[in-house]
Every structure is written in C-alpha cells, then in structure tokens.
Symmetry: C2
Subunit: 308 residues, 2 copies
C-alpha cells in the first residue's frame, strides 16, 4: 500500500456565498487534501498544528478516514488558524475577510518516524520554510514530491519558494500564479519555464475552466465537470490535489499516461467538493458516487475520431 504524507493547514473556515453563510466550520488545505485522498487505498498521514479550540469531532472526521493524525500537534490554550471569505455573484471573485494565523505562526513541523519513508509527499500551501523542513526530514527520497503554493508566497518569500520549487517533482499552481511566477502570459510558455526551475511536471489549475498537465512537449487537459450549481468553491483546489496525489500514491506509477488519470481523479473529486459548504460533501462521499461520476467524465471528454 502506498504511503502518502500531507503537510498543510487544518483550520476553521467561515464562508459566505450568494447561497448562504456558515459559522466556523472545518477547513484547511490538509483537511481537503486528506478527505479527497481517502478515496484511495493508501496509508496516509497529515502533519499540521491546531489549537485545543478545534472540536474533537473535527479531527474525528479525518480519523474516520483512517488518516494518521499523530503528526497533528494540538496546542493547549492555542487558537486554530482561522480564515473567513466571501464569494460574489459568479463565485469567481472572492474577498478574504479575516486571516488569523494563530498557532500556525509558530508551526515547526515534525514528520512522524513512520512516514519518513513515504512514497508521495504533498506539500500543501504554507510558508516555504515549513515545506522545506518537511522535505529535509525525509529519510528516503520520496518517489514524488508535489508542491502547492500561492501568489502570497511569490510576493513575500520568493527566494525561499524557489528553493522549494527546485526540490519538487510536480507543482500545482493556478493560471494567474503561473503567469506571475514566470512573467509570461502564455500558459504553454509559462509551464516550460517552470520546468526549468525544477519540477518535471506542472499542473496549472483554471478553476471552473479545468486543469492542464505539462511535461516536456506533452499536454493533457481535464475539464471541470459542468454543474447545475456550484455552491461553495472553498477547498476545490486542495480537493483536486488530494485526488491527484491519492491516486498516484495508490498506483505508484508516475508515467505521463498515469498522471493524466490522476488529473482526472482530481477533477472528479473537486466536482463533488463544490456542491456543499466546506467538507460537507466530501466527508460522506461514497465510492459508488465517485465511480459513477468518473463515467460522466469519460462521456464528457472521450470521442472516437479514427486516425490512420
């Protein structure tokens, strides 16, 4: 069974969309990555930090998915990382209302002994120095290190971020971030430049416009499933990443053809995540639902033009 190590936030989110509003609910990159990856037959751990204000039932949601939580440090009297955001009309525009780092400000990750030989390491969006620390603690070179990051780190800690980028096999990034990182508008050119910075594979996420996978001259595209309603986009990118790495940890095959499948699994799982607030849809998601929607993905994308 493949081993997946995830580092990322476990957090409180408070979300407002045109369809409603939540109090503080379970959120965080590692949460969404873990829930998505739990659809695969793997051995998985999360490294994170939380305060003791995080209800035990929230960690219980992750534990119920057989995720090893020994790497989640609980700080007595500490407050859990809190993010609050509001989405407008078309859900493509969002405003961050509150970001309270709280215990995350002093996060010094420790990789549990048992996961220092993980096959796949997923570095969720965090300070690059935390991501570097996790890489340096691995006792065996992982088959695959996947990095997620965002424009904030490009603005504020670009040199450290570049150090991380040098050490990873795959980077997932959105279209605007790819442009910012490379100063190149064409995503094809941006992906080429990023490959010279370290990663052999580049995944560019375009939200409701799907995701692109690049490797040398090869390009693969996975659409987002067109939905009647998108209810809450929070966590969609992390859910995508979780499906992507979960599948790769299970299949232990990093050929370009298998990475194509991983991108489809990621898009497929993300299509569920956005159907309800926060983790609500993912926490009880059945394998049969996932499979039936994979069928929809095939119908959505497969055609039969014969080429001699």
């Amino acid at each position: 069974m493949g081993k997946l190590l995830i580092v990322g936030t476990v957090a409180f989110d408070a979300i407002e969309t045109p369809f409603g509003k939540t109090d503080k609910i379970l959120g965080g990159a590692a949460t969404f990555i873990g829930l998505a990856a739990s659809q695969f037959d793997i051995d998985m751990a999360i490294i994170s930090i939380v305060g003791d204000d995080l209800p035990e039932e929230y960690l219980g949601i992750l534990a119920a998915k057989n995720i090893d939580l020994s790497g989640i440090e609980v700080i007595k009297g500490g407050k859990t990382f809190f993010w609050s955001g509001k989405y407008y009309n078309d859900l493509n525009t969002r405003e961050t209302l509150v970001t309270e780092l709280n215990v995350l400000a002093d996060f010094d990750p420790v990789v549990p002994k048992n996961y220092r030989d993980s096959d796949v390491v997923m570095l969720g969006n965090l300070h690059p120095s935390i991501q570097l620390s996790v890489i340096s603690q691995m006792e065996k070179k992982p088959k695959l290190i996947v990095l997620d990051t965002m424009n904030y780190w490009m603005d504020n800690t670009l040199e450290e971020l570049k150090e991380v980028i040098k050490k990873v096999d795959i980077i997932t990034i959105n279209d605007e971030e790819a442009r910012q990182l490379t100063n190149e508008h064409s995503l094809v050119k941006a992906a080429s430049i990023i490959q010279t910075m370290g990663p052999k594979f580049v995944v560019i996420k375009k939200g409701e416009n799907g995701a692109l996978l690049f490797h040398k001259d090869n390009i693969f595209f996975a659409p987002a499933l067109p939905l009647k309603e998108v209810f809450d986009p929070t966590g969609a990118g992390d859910t995508f990443a979780g499906g992507f790495v979960g599948y790769l940890a299970e299949s232990k095959n990093i050929s370009f053809n298998n990475l194509k499948n991983a991108v489809i699994h990621g898009s497929n799982l993300a299509s569920f995540s956005v159907e309800k607030f926060g983790t609500e849809r993912m926490k009880d998601l059945e394998k049969s639902e996932v499979k039936s929607r994979l069928r929809q993905f095939k119908e959505l994308t497969q055609f039969d033009i014969e080429l001699q």
Copy 2:
C-alpha cells in the same frame, strides 16, 4: 456528397493586435466558415453580398476551395462591409473601432436553386430577418440548421431572433450570450432553457476555454488547444462553426456521438486560424497538418481509466 449552404458576411477586416496591424484584409463570417468547411469532402455554397471594391483575388481564395459563389451578389459601385477592431494585451479584450455595414444594409439573400435542398444550412451571424429568409427559401427540409448569433441581436432584435431560434436544430453562442439570452448564470441551466426555445443541441463557445455541447442530459466538452502564441483571434468562432458543420455535412450523421467529433473538428481548425492574421493560416492549410493536430487533440484529452 453532403451539401452545405452558408449565409454570412464576406468582408474587409482591419485588425490590430499586440503583435501587429493589418490594412483591409479578407474577413467575414462566411469566409472563415467556408475555409474551415473546405477541409471536408462536401459540396458547398456561400450566400453573401459585397461591393465591387472587394479584390477579385479575395473571392478567388474561396473559389479555389471549390466553394460555389453564385450566391454572392456583387454590387456595382457598392462598398463591402468593413469591420475594424483592436485587441489588448491578453487578446481576451477587444474593442470595435469601425463597423461600416455598406452593402450589407440592403442584403436580401437569394438561395441558389441548386442549394435549396442542402443537407446542412449554416446561418452565420447576421440580422435574424436575413437568417429567416434563408430558412424560408429551402425547398426541402434540411437535415440540420445551425445558427450563430451574438449579443447585438439580443439587444436590438430579440423577438425576431427568437423566431429564428425556434426553427433551428443547433445554436452556437458564447458563454456570456447564453447567460444573456436566458438570464441564468449556470451554463448547464442556460443550455437547458435554450433547448426549450427550439434547438435540440446547444454549443456554448468559451474562447480559449473551449466549447461545450449540450443535448438533454448529455454534455461534451472540447478544449481549445493550448498554444504557445495566439496571434489573432478574429474568426476563431466562425472557423470553429465551419469545422463543425463541414464535418456534419460530410458525415451526414447527427447522433450525439458524431456531434462530439464535430466539436473536436471545429476546435481543431480554430486552433490554426488564430496562429496568423485573418485568413492567412486557413487559406493554405494542408489536410496532413489538420490530421496531425487531431492527434494532438487525442493526446490532450483521452485517458484510460478503466471502469467496470
């Protein structure tokens, strides 16, 4: 051999992009549709109107593709429709600088006798009353009538446009226009509503973000091919439509599965059109280039997740 009838503009375009600027060159919806459709083995005619200021060599470009031009009226002393536009930075924003209707203002289309039994009728973007007139002149009910239109007609001649929509089998429209026509943000819902207005099939074009095909509960998606450079987007939508109807006129099969192939052929041809100014890329496009890029489309979209 399938018969395709196209009504649309044959025009002068003057284009400015970040990469350069043209004088008056050959443009117009029917031009792009015809050039794309000429990649298929069909019998095709264009109905349009031009002034005698249009250089003979421009009509020669179409004639060289074996397009019947007997339905193109040449007005002595008349001036050809002229459009001029400027694209900004990312090529997603464009400004219309000049629109001179000229001879188009009095266009009263006459369908050549020999094409009143066409299998496929492509109604290029024009005043809805012109489109209606073409439909009414058909002596045999076409297998397929495909409508292209734009927001201008929704703003100014909505009732007449709805009359046309009622009579067609397929509508091609961009995402913003689909939303405007239905007052519905979700494209899935918008496509359902449009199907109640007449067309059995709805194609929603999203420019560089691909195209969606809808029929009842079936959805198919074709990405745009990611390119290193997009040089001039003018005519991409019409080229898409031309590939779409050209393939359908050739294959004479309007099953959903075959419409999928048609959407891919449309996307494939559009990916060439944007590589040079105006019709420059399309007028000498070789079948071998088209085929080799279809292979790229397969690699871009096809994956092999097995579902039991």
